[in-house]
Amino acid sequence: MLSPNTDPSSTAAAAPSSERVPPFEIHDMTVAYHNKPVLWDVDLTVPENQLIAILGPNGAGKSTLIKAVLGLIPRASGRVDIFGKPYETNRSLVGYVPQRESVDWDFPISALEVVLMGRYGHLGLFRRPGKHDREISLDALDKVGMADYAERQISQLSGGQQQRVFLARALVQDARLYFMDEPFAGVDAATERAILTLLRELKEQQKTVIVVHHSLQTVREYFDHLILLNMRVVAHGPMAETFNDDNLQKTYGGRLAILDRAAEAVRQAKE
């Protein structure tokens, strides 16, 4: 049996023992903006090869969780492991789809150029993407139904099409663990379906996908595993066990009550 410290790149070829290393673990992570904590004591271990939703009300820290894991905002405390190693070591196994609004879509590049950026992690400094990278990127665009738009300037795409371009970019990263920040937000029905198909394909390819989601209506149908978040992990586990009134009530309703109880607990611990 392999120890947890085994180099994951050597086990990447789907060796059975590699599945014993969880794709993603957070230990005791706290994230704060200035002096205000937005995520408290997050402890998470997610199973491999699942479609995992992070669900919670606005301001619950869903995006913050992903960004803190990816090192885009500093963590006040805690550790993140990707396939059993620090994120910094194993970042090449991670793919990322940021929120669509996070970039300037008027930037003068084509859809294909955006997708090619997903290959940059495989290229060295100064090296330009080659023919092989182009082929991979065109394939990915085809997969999200955007092959005809490869040369289109990105500001001429609709919101849903822009989202698909971002997904294609993550695909060519060729990662094993994906983080997607609200890919379903504000997209048309066709795009929603295209994204869902893609998620299921990724699952078939033994990937793990963690998605920030906002819709209580669709989450049960789309995902296998659920993380309910509201400044802390309220509940997480397989969808069937986790998606219930009690947990949702704890996540969405009585938000103030939760904070009050937490503050009370902190006070008691200090005394």
Partner: protein, 468 residues
């Protein structure tokens, strides 16, 4: 990440270049200029100035393009103003007008100024525009105060700090040209080598960070290029106006292209053109500050780009707007005639102007023009009592009405997930919605009795569907 260790080659290369320049001195450069000036049949001095300003324009155009895209247009302005106290302090320390020494001082205070801006944005509630405004004016004020102290000192007269304010190309010497050429070469090589890197950190720095790129280092490098370009431009264009040299070429080029790999060289070319033409113009108007003349030349490039550029230029845009309005007006006319006919339950009855005017907010005159246009297109025929649709008009109108109603239903049914499509033209419905959704919507329309293909009773078939 390891492969970015190569970035250490940059300071090494710079050190080698400086050593080489010191070893060979100015001789080879001066001889080169003499040879080239002879070749073009120009006077040594004017050729030198021309070369200097053109190179400066090229460099600032290329670097400025990235700054504009990163929404950092004004940072160049702030850096330039912040450079003034550095120039003055360097002169005080060195005690004579030493181009490289003074530019080093300018670069240092420029960098400090830009760091102060980032610090203010990051650690206080001050927003970027206010932060730039504060740093720019405070350091500029300090610079003015220091240069007044220098000017009052008898040895300070020769500092020529006034030239740094508004620019003076005439005073350029081979030493200055060498500095400009050196910085220009480094900047251009760096942009060429790191094009892919600058492109990604311009578009999506977070994604670059996730890939493990040293975003702060690359960003700092881009910033350094901006600072050095600004600083070498100070003697020619001046503190107050150098920002225009950075901004105008990039903004002008943006009108002409949607492609970064075209935009960057084009901005360089526009910058070069600005420097070249500006120098010529400033020779004609020797009394005016060179900076002003060069910037005014650049504004000509901008004006022309803004007006005549295809697609993005103002003329092309207003033409597009006009054709769109005409198309919508035509669609409205056809749709109104068609729907009025639906009301009559007979497509052959002509529609009177008063009915049309009631249905639409047209003036009688607009209606006259529209119907004239409809007849011209063969879609409307006039009748003593009004107008009615021709065969072709009916087919087109049915199409428009169909798309319009599908769209209506779609927006009502699914507006919450389609919010990003509301602005779409009804014509494009088939491109946006999937066939399944269209079918579903069609059924809904038919169920409500609003499907335009069958609605008005007519002896004439309205759509191809009914032909069959």
């Amino acid at each position: 990440m390891q492969r970015f260790g190569l970035l250490w080659l940059i300071p090494v290369a710079l050190a080698l270049e400086i050593t080489a320049v010191e070893a060979f001195g100015l001789e080879p450069i001066q001889q080169g200029i003499v040879v080239l000036a002879d070749l073009f049949g120009l006077h040594y001095n004017s050729f030198l100035i021309w070369l200097g300003t053109s190179l400066l324009g090229l460099t600032s155009g290329v670097v400025g393009a990235f700054a504009v895209l990163k929404k950092r247009s004004l940072v160049g302005d702030a850096v330039a103003h912040a450079a003034l106290p550095g120039l003055a302090i360097a002169f005080m320390l060195i005690g004579e007008r030493n181009f490289i020494g003074m530019l080093t001082g300018a670069a240092i205070s420029g960098i400090l100024g830009s760091l102060a801006i980032s610090w203010l944005i990051r650690h206080t509630r001050i927003k970027s525009d206010a932060a730039i405004g504060i740093v720019l004016s405070v350091l500029f004020g300090l610079g003015i105060a220091l240069s007044r102290i220098i000017q009052d000192d008898p040895t300070g007269q020769q500092a020529g700090l006034d030239a740094f304010l508004l620019g003076k190309t005439a005073g350029m010497i081979s030493q200055d040209l060498l500095t400009i050429a050196l910085v220009a070469a480094n900047v251009l090589v760096m942009v060429a080598l790191l094009y892919k890197e600058f492109k990604l950190i311009g578009f999506d720095p977070d994604f670059a960070a996730v890939l493990g790129w040293p975003v702060l280092v690359l960003d700092g490098l881009l910033m350094a290029l901006l600072v050095f370009t600004t600083v070498i431009g100070l003697p020619a264009v001046g503190v107050v106006l150098i920002a225009a040299m950075l901004i105008i070429p990039g903004v002008s080029a943006r009108f002409w292209t949607d492609k970064l790999h075209v935009l960057v060289p084009l901005a360089g070319f526009f910058g070069l053109l600005t420097g070249f033409v500006g120098t010529y113009a400033s020779a004609q108007f020797a009394d005016l500050p060179a900076g002003a003349v060069i910037v005014l030349s650049g504004s000509a490039v901008f004006m022309i780009s803004m007006l005549v550029a295809p697609r993005r230029g103002l003329i092309a845009r207003s033409l597009l707007e006009l054709t769109t309005r005409l198309r919508i007006a035509r669609q409205n006319l056809l749709r109104t005639l068609f729907e009025a006919a639906e009301e009559n339950e007979n497509i052959d009855i002509p529609i009177t102007p008063s009915v049309l005017l009631k249905l639409r907010s047209w003036s009688p005159r607009q209606l006259q023009v529209l119907s004239w246009w409809g007849r011209l297109l063969g879609e409307v025929e006039s009748h003593p009592t009004g107008w009615r649709l021709t065969e072709a008009g009916r087919r087109h109108a049915a199409q428009i009405v169909r798309a319009h109603r599908l769209w209506e239903v779609y927006l009502v049914e699914q507006a919450s997930i389609a919010s990003d499509h509301v602005h779409r033209d009804a014509d494009e419905i088939e491109h946006v919605l999937t066939p399944e959704i269209l079918k579903d919507l069609e059924q809904k329309l038919q169920a409500a009795g609003r499907w335009p293909a069958t609605a008005p009773s007519s002896v004439h078939p309205l759509t191809e569907g009914e032909h069959a």
